[in-house]
Each structure stands twice: as structure tokens, then as C-alpha cells.
């Protein structure tokens, strides 16, 4: 639903007559143009996956990480402008260590999500700042169990069972809704996330991509880490097979 906001879209401090702030909506479009990022909450943890579109064949595999650890118990996956994402991750890391120093315990995921959302929202309030052009999926495991949050460029943050942002978000959301997440372990979740990302990847429009995944669950001792290589390979293989089966129909 694109509309022209002529005249009312020059500054983030201007409302349009129908109550929209166009600059924020344009920021969201930057997120929609990036590779798909999804996150799901399984019964024992969180799994996040990123469709990393490769710009050049000469890039080293494994470089340009899109999923970052914020603290021992939480991580975030970023979609949209990568440089903007780096700022947000730095801020989140700083908030987490500061909270730990003052209160003596790891920052609750809910509190971290609120702080990140506040920071993103801050940049939508002043004419001399532009909104962040990235969407964030934040997953963590604290004393209240595993939790998944999504933060949009407007500064809204909600808690989810499953979330998707980027190019293939509509298709990904449909796939996630089919899953029975409350009965799934993270091990199974990793395979499902890989299948979904391979599925929503558009071969025609974008050539190559690299799959990057992370989890925080009971199996990883509630620490946020990259999915172990053997499991990652297993997931990729299962995803490729599923794709071939679909194409064979």
C-alpha cells in the first residue's frame, strides 16, 4: 500500500493530514528490501535465522555477521541497513552491561527489548536525526524462560511466538503459522527455520545467499550462540531436500 506523501514526507517531525509520519514508513521500506530474517520461540528456547544475500562472489563465507550476541543470554538478528544495525547492537550491549553492573543480575529480556525500542523511537522524534532503517528480532532466555521480541523502525516492540521481517516476510509468516511451536524443541526448530528460509528465497531475483542461524536454549545452557556446525549442515541438507521435493511436484 504505497502512497505518495508529497510535501509531508520531508521531515520525520511532520505529520501528514491523515495522521501518518511518512519518513518512518519509508524507513520500514528499507527493511522490506533486505534479506528475510525470522525468529521462533520453541518450548525450550529461541531459534533465529537470516537469509544473507551475497553481494559479491569474492566475499568470504561467514563474514558480514547479521546475528549478534548482546549478552550471554540474548542475541539479536538485524534486517535492513547494516550500518544502522551496528549502532543498535552497540547500544543494546551497553544497556545490558550497565544493567548488570547496577542491579547485579542479567538484564531481563523484556527490559532489554523496551530499552532498544526506546532508543529506536528516540531517533524518530528530532528533525536532525533520521530514523533507523532496520528491523530487529531479539531473542533471549532469562529467569522467566525464553522470549522473542521484534522492534520496528517506528520504535514499536511486541513479544512474539514467531516473527519474520524482510523480503519474504509474508511467505515466512504463513509457514511459521503452520508450525506447532509449543511442542517443538530447538533442535527441530533449527531444521524448520532452515526449510522456511530456503523456501522463501527467490532464486529468480536474488542469486546466492548464505544461511546464518543462532539459538539460545536449554541445550546451549541458556547461552546465545551460533548453531553448531554439524546441526547447521544437517538443517541445510534437509532444507535443500524439502525444496527439491517441492519442485518435483
Amino acid at each position: 500500500m504505497s502512497s505518495i506523501g508529497t510535501g509531508y514526507d520531508l521531515s520525520v517531525t511532520t505529520f501528514s493530514p491523515d495522521g501518518r509520519v511518512f519518513q518512518i514508513e519509508y524507513a520500514a521500506k528499507a527493511v522490506d528490501n533486505s534479506g528475510t530474517v525470522i525468529g521462533i520461540k520453541c518450548k525450550d528456547g529461541i531459534v533465529m535465522g537470516v537469509e544473507k544475500l551475497i553481494a559479491s562472489k569474492m566475499m568470504l563465507p561467514g563474514s558480514n555477521r547479521r546475528i549478534h550476541s548482546v549478552h550471554r543470554h540474548s542475541g539479536m538478528a538485524v534486517a535492513g541497513l547494516a550500518a544502522d544495525g551496528r549502532q543498535i547492537v552497540a547500544r543494546a550491549k551497553s544497556e545490558a552491561t550497565n544493567y548488570q553492573s547496577v542491579y547485579g543480575e542479567p538484564i531481563p529480556v523484556k527490559e532489554l527489548a523496551e530499552r532498544v525500542a526506546s532508543y529506536v523511537h528516540l531517533c524518530t522524534l528530532y528533525w536532525w536525526l533520521r530514523p533507523f532503517g532496520c528491523g530487529i528480532i531479539l531473542g533471549g532466555y532469562d529467569r522467566d524462560g525464553p522470549q522473542l521480541y521484534m522492534v520496528e523502525p517506528s520504535g514499536i516492540s511486541y513479544r512474539y511466538f514467531g516473527a519474520a521481517i524482510g523480503k519474504g516476510k509474508q511467505a515466512a509468516k504463513t509457514e511459521i503459522e503452520k508450525l506447532k511451536l509449543s511442542e517443538m524443541t530447538c533442535r527441530e526448530g533449527v531444521i524448520e527455520v532452515a526449510k522456511i528460509i530456503y523456501n522463501v528465497h527467490d532464486e529468480a531475483k536474488d542469486k546466492a545467499f548464505e544461511l546464518e542461524m543462532s539459538w539460545v536454549c536449554d541445550e546451549s545452557k541458556q547461552q546465545h550462540q551460533k548453531v553448531p556446525d554439524d546441526l547447521l549442515e544437517e538443517a541445510k541438507a534437509a532444507a535443500r531436500t524439502a525444496l527439491e521435493e517441492m519442485d518435483a511436484d
Binding site: V102, Y103, G104, E105, P108, K110, E111, R143
Partner: protein, 235 residues
């Protein structure tokens, strides 16, 4: 006898303070004497102060310093509770007290025992002595009167007591310390904190056990003097 009592000396709480965990919560106990040099400024003070609904702190050392630290931490915890949307944990309260004690160690003189109950860890006791260390303990003792209680607790403490056993232990310990420490006295106050809530108790002098010279003499040789024929070794 020094008649030049310094009535303008800073109020200090000689004090005996105790915090003990039991199966289901904690019991905090303290005496009630606040002294200004040799003069007892308040014989019925309340040294167990509330920080939140579920966390209390026992104060010792300088009365002013311990009150100010408690006031700051109560304020920070209140804001923290609003932000978090649920009660603060005992650990967070203890950490805030520790940060103030440690970072201002040159100016403060106060030893504190933080005790409370939260839904994640249950009953917990944290001792924060003079320098600002933070140490989680199954029981903690502090104040000038605590010197007389180390041996007592080594023998009498056990893991997994019931609420009544723990409270009786605390009352007995404070009362023993009051008997031996000149800077501790007055009444014994206790606060019990568990999942059901907080209960304050008060034990005045007549409710406490008698010790040593306070007891009636039994089989004393002084009985010879009051008997009809004061013949030694003939009783």
C-alpha cells in the same frame, strides 16, 4: 567513672543484628539500643527497615549513614519495581546497597544485612559489612554484639529449620548478645519474610530467657549462711 559523657557524639547503634534463612523464608532479628557515647539515646529503636514489600534490611554502625543508605536504596528499588512491572529480587536490593557502601567506603561506617523473599530464589540473606563486600550466606550476624555469637552459631545453626525453630534461634542469640555486650540492649525485634508475607514480632525483657548471674542461684554455697547451723560440708 567518666562523668564527662559526650552527649554530642554521633548516634551509633552498638547493636546486634542477625539474619537467618529457613525452609521457606528468612527471619531477621535485632536489639533496640541506640547510643550516643555512653548515653542511650533510644532504648526502643527499630533497626529492621523496610526496603520493599518483600525485602528488609538490618542496620548497624552509624545511625545516620545506615538510614541514608536505606533511604536511597528504597527510592531506587521503587523505580526499578515500576519499570520491571514486578517485585524486585533480594539480590538486586543487596547489590544496590553494596554499590553505595563500596563506592563511598571512605565516608560511610555502616554494616548491613539484607534479607527477603522473592519468587525466583526463595528466602535469601546477604551480608554487606563495612568495606562494601557482598556475600550471600545461609545466615549472617553483625554489629558489636555479634562477636559473642560466632561460637554459638557454629554450634546451634542447622540447615532446613522450620519457621519457629529459626525465630527461636534468632531471639535466643540476640538475647545472649544483649547480656554480654554493653552497646546492645532493650527489646528484641524480629521480622519473618516468606511467600505469604511479612510478620513483625516484639519480645520485651520479660519474654526473654535469663542467663548467668540473672538466674536464681541453685545449689549455691551461699545457702550455708542462711541455714540454722552454718556447718560447712554438712548439708
Amino acid at each position: 567513672m567518666d562523668l564527662n559523657m559526650d552527649l554530642n557524639a554521633p548516634h551509633s547503634m552498638g547493636t546486634t543484628i542477625i539474619g537467618v534463612t529457613y525452609n521457606g523464608g528468612v527471619v531477621l532479628g535485632a536489639d533496640s539500643r541506640t547510643s550516643t557515647g555512653m548515653y542511650v539515646a533510644n532504648r526502643a529503636s527499630d533497626k529492621i527497615t523496610q526496603l520493599t514489600d518483600n525485602v528488609y534490611v538490618c542496620r548497624s554502625g552509624s545511625a545516620a549513614d545506615s538510614q541514608l543508605v536505606s533511604d536511597y536504596v528504597r527510592y531506587f528499588l521503587h523505580q526499578h519495581t515500576i519499570q520491571l512491572g514486578q517485585p524486585a529480587t533480594v539480590k538486586v536490593a543487596a547489590n544496590l546497597i553494596r554499590l553505595l557502601s563500596y563506592n563511598n567506603k571512605n565516608m560511610l561506617e555502616t554494616g548491613l544485612i539484607v534479607g527477603g523473599w522473592d519468587k525466583y530464589e526463595g528466602g535469601k540473606i546477604y551480608g554487606i559489612p563495612l568495606g562494601g563486600t557482598l556475600i550471600e550466606q545461609p545466615f549472617a550476624i553483625g554489629g558489636s554484639g555479634s562477636s559473642y555469637l560466632y561460637g554459638f552459631f557454629d554450634q546451634a545453626w542447622k540447615e532446613g529449620m522450620t519457621k519457629d525453630e529459626a525465630e527461636q534461634l534468632v531471639v535466643k542469640a540476640v538475647s545472649l548478645a544483649i547480656a554480654r555486650d554493653g552497646a546492645s540492649g532493650g527489646v528484641v525485634r524480629t521480622v519473618v519474610i516468606n511467600s505469604e508475607g511479612v510478620t513483625r514480632n516484639f519480645y520485651p525483657g520479660d519474654k526473654l530467657q535469663l542467663w548467668h548471674e540473672e538466674l536464681e542461684p541453685q545449689n549455691s554455697l551461699l545457702d550455708i549462711l542462711s541455714s540454722p547451723s552454718p556447718e560447712p560440708m554438712n548439708i
